[in-house]
Amino acid sequence: MTDPRIFDLPEADMAWCPGCGDFKILEALKKALADMDMAPEDVVVVSGIGQAAKTPHFMKCNFLNGLHGRALSHATGVKAANPKLTVVAIGGDGDMYGEGGNHFLHTVRRNPDIANFVYNNMVYGLTKGQASPTSPRGMVTPVQTRGVSSEPVNPLALAIVQGATFVARAFSGDVDHTAETMKAAIKHRGYALVDVFQPCVSFNKINTFKWFKDHTYRLGDEHDSSNRSAALALAMETERFPLGILYREEGRPTFEDSLGIYEKDDTPLHRRSPDVDKVRETIDSMA
């Protein structure tokens, strides 16, 4: 087993608030990668914009820190250009389910082999406390002054309904369990969502560390994660949220598989040389 410290970036200027749940998620991520004997150059962490999305600047790995909401599109492109890379797409709930909502929906359907970790603090952190798509109804913010009026997004249910092949939830307060869940997600061949509850100590006074502790429970062995309707029923629970792998389906072709170009040859695109002679042949065969 590798030492998670190989993923440390000593000169990183940590921009998270002291006490933020994000630190624990980062710790879990490094642990998961190290446990899997990965090296920083094997991994690409792709992120959008937001506090959570700063993750790749705080660890050593290949990274693409792109645009707000677009991490899943970036990540799909990375994986499609080089399926040999381990691709992890990271962002906050606003990033993934709000600005990136359409991409979330369609990435689930596309099933690229990427692990998607969403740091869900039920608020916008970086822009200072506006409602996010997962904010509870009634939450008062500087913008939602009369309280949030929309129903919160249920990302797990949405993913399951759209045909996601791996759907899980974790809580940053439990680093080991989060790391284990992340490992399973990375190992999974296909799109894998892990929604990670994370208290935002600066802007979310409702969903605090204690609140998450009180409102979550660990799934037991009795849950059959291959049972889609049972998974959906669990995803619909909102009194107390189940933690663990709700749904897992192996063997579905990935996006990269369906492109066809890796069927006979798994060489990444950057190592291929285009067959320009074929262009000539095509032109010669024209009228």
Partner: protein
């Protein structure tokens, strides 16, 4: 009337009447019979009905532009629209089935030749053959080879069985006879002479852009369908396995460009293909590619705007959109091919430059160019050998190394043992976000040094005219060949034509030519004079005159000829 060198044929019919098939038959059979062919299509945004047309110029020398004059109008269904009817003159011969079109052509100038297309189609095997008969009719007027027509039907329908081939052949044969009759009745409708066109190939704009991209090393295509750019997406999808292309129709243009940026970061050579509306949605991702220095090519196929504008029509209204694409400042390359050959070569060039300088290229076409086909000399389709210009990362590798020419050594994850970073923020050499005002200036300067290279390593403008010209006519993109033909007709001893192929950055040759000219005249397909404004902003020179067209249809040669002679008095 054509001089015997050139016959202009227009075929009209509702969507679903097979105008496109006629186009295809004529292009292939005529070219193989030794004629030069040029064709351009205009169509309504309808899946069924309406009335569309294609103009085919059959010629003894290569032609490359749309004309108003119609020597022969073939009508497949009633309801020919004003834009075609206006072009009928007393020299036009109209071939139509009177039982179907009724009085439609009673009051027009042209001479009607009544052909029982419907009846004959039924005899040939069904109403669907009317278009094949029409194709035969045109072939019959010329000296087209009947063997080539046979060969065409065999190769096109052979898989569907002998019956289909025979029915098509017989329908075409009936048309051929009719055509021969007609040629006798209208002795002025002389077919052009033949040439040796055997080494030439018939290609349309969509094929030229797509094949040029592949020749340039494109291996990744993402798009969301939007006319007129969709053809390139379809070509890529249909030829994906042949050429090893990753192709995806994504959920929207936002995803298209962001996926392309991700792919480029990981070592692909991506292209997005879209129209103005879609490209507007791509601005943010385009800007990301700019700061991240990920090479990519955007094919921007113009149609009239604002917003949805005219979905199936043509315009040159997006020059500003391309030149100013993205927020913030970063260098980019904007190329505008004017011919089929250039659609191929400049698209390949867009990839070459994107990789050489790690910039973003925009290739600007339009509906007219994409839906135009013509016979071309394959030797004129040129492309440099693709090179992604990648390096293997070694110890101490830094993606955004601040090197003198601004082009940092580019590696990708998995090529070498080192880390490769990529960031949308202003970043340090490793790609990490780092808020430092000096660093910001340094990095911005680094990126803009690449912009200087784009000015030096430029695609020259095409300047043609008499040695001692004093007046310069300027145009860009698909209007080029049309203006060229119009100017040839005008035979002006003091006027040259400059077709600007590299729109941005404006290169020295353009500046020098503009400075040398006493008089500048711009011809462009938009309302605002976008090229004219751009040239003024760069050179300070104002135009003495301009000709603009923004009705949704391409200029015709006659329109430009008349417009220019009016301007020149």
């Amino acid at each position: 009337m054509a001089s015997g060198k050139d016959l202009s044929v227009v075929i009209c019919g509702g969507a679903g009447y097979g105008v496109q098939t006629v186009e295809d038959i004529l292009a292939k059979v005529l070219k193989r019979s030794g004629y030069h062919v040029f064709a351009t299509r205009e169509y309504m945004s309808r899946v069924r009905g309406g009335n569309n047309s294609t103009e085919i110029r059959i010629s003894s020398t290569p032609v490359d532009g749309m004309v108003d004059e119609i020597d022969l109008l073939v009508v497949l269904s009633p309801g020919v629209r004003e834009n075609i009817r206006n072009r009928i003159t007393k020299n036009t011969v109209i071939a139509a089935d009177r039982s179907s079109v009724g009085e439609e052509f009673e009051k027009t100038d042209g001479a009607l030749f009544d052909v029982a297309l419907g009846e004959m189609a039924k005899e040939a095997g069904g109403a669907v053959y009317a278009n094949v008969i029409a194709a035969g009719l045109v072939l019959g007027i010329t000296d087209a080879s009947t063997d080539q027509a046979e060969e065409y039907f065999r190769s096109r329908f052979g898989k569907k069985g002998d019956k289909v081939v025979d029915e098509n052949r017989s329908a075409c044969g009936k048309g051929l006879e009719l055509g021969r009759d007609m040629a006798e009745k209208f002795p002025d409708l002389a077919p052009p002479e033949k040439d040796d066109t055997s080494s030439r190939r018939v290609m349309n704009g969509v094929q030229a852009v797509s094949l040029g991209a592949i020749a340039g090393g494109c291996d990744f295509v993402t798009a969301y369908p939007m006319s007129p750019a969709t053809g390139v997406l379809a070509f890529a999808a249909q030829n994906a396995s042949e050429f090893g292309l990753a192709v995806e129709q994504v959920e929207d243009e936002i995803s298209a460009i962001n996926m392309a940026v991700g792919a480029s970061y990981a070592g692909a050579s991506p292209m997005v293909t879209t129209s103005g509306g879609g490209f507007s949605l791509m601005y943010e991702g385009f800007s990301l590619a700019g700061v991240a220095e990920t090479p990519l090519v955007a094919h921007l196929a113009q149609r009239p705007g604002p917003a949805t504008g005219m979905a199936t029509r043509t315009e040159q209204g997006d020059l500003n959109l391309a030149v100013h694409a993205g927020h913030g400042e970063f260098p980019r390359l904007v190329l505008a091919p004017g011919t089929i050959e250039e659609a191929y070569s400049l698209t390949a060039r867009a990839f070459e430059i994107a990789h050489r300088y790690q910039v973003q290229s925009i290739v600007m076409t339009d509906q007219y160019l994409l839906n135009t086909f013509r016979d071309v000399d394959p030797d004129d389709l040129t492309a440099a050998k693709p090179d992604k210009c990648l390096v293997t990362s070694g110890p101490g590798y830094r993606r955004y190394e601040d090197v003198p020419n601004g082009v940092s050594p580019r590696s990708v994850p998995g090529l070498g043992k080192e880390i490769v970073g990529c960031d949308s923020h202003e970043h340090d050499e490793e790609g990490h976000v780092f808020e430092d005002f000096d660093l910001r200036v340094r990095m911005s300067d680094k990126r803009f040094r690449k912009g200087e290279l784009l000015k030096e390593d430029f695609v020259p403008a095409d300047i043609r005219g008499p040695e001692n010209w004093t007046r310069l006519v300027l145009c860009w993109g698909s209007t080029g060949p049309i203006v060229s033909e119009a100017l040839k007709d005008l035979e002006l001893s003091d006027t040259a034509l400059m077709r600007i192929r590299q729109i941005w950055p404006v290169a020295e040759d353009v500046v020098a030519a503009v400075e040398r000219a006493d008089e500048l005249i711009f011809v462009e397909g938009n309302h605002d004079g976008q090229l004219e404004n751009l040239i003024r902003s760069v050179t300070g020179r104002s135009a003495q005159g301009h000709l603009r067209n923004y009705c949704g249809l391409q200029f015709s040669v006659e329109q430009v000829r008349m417009g220019l002679s009016e301007i020149l008095g």
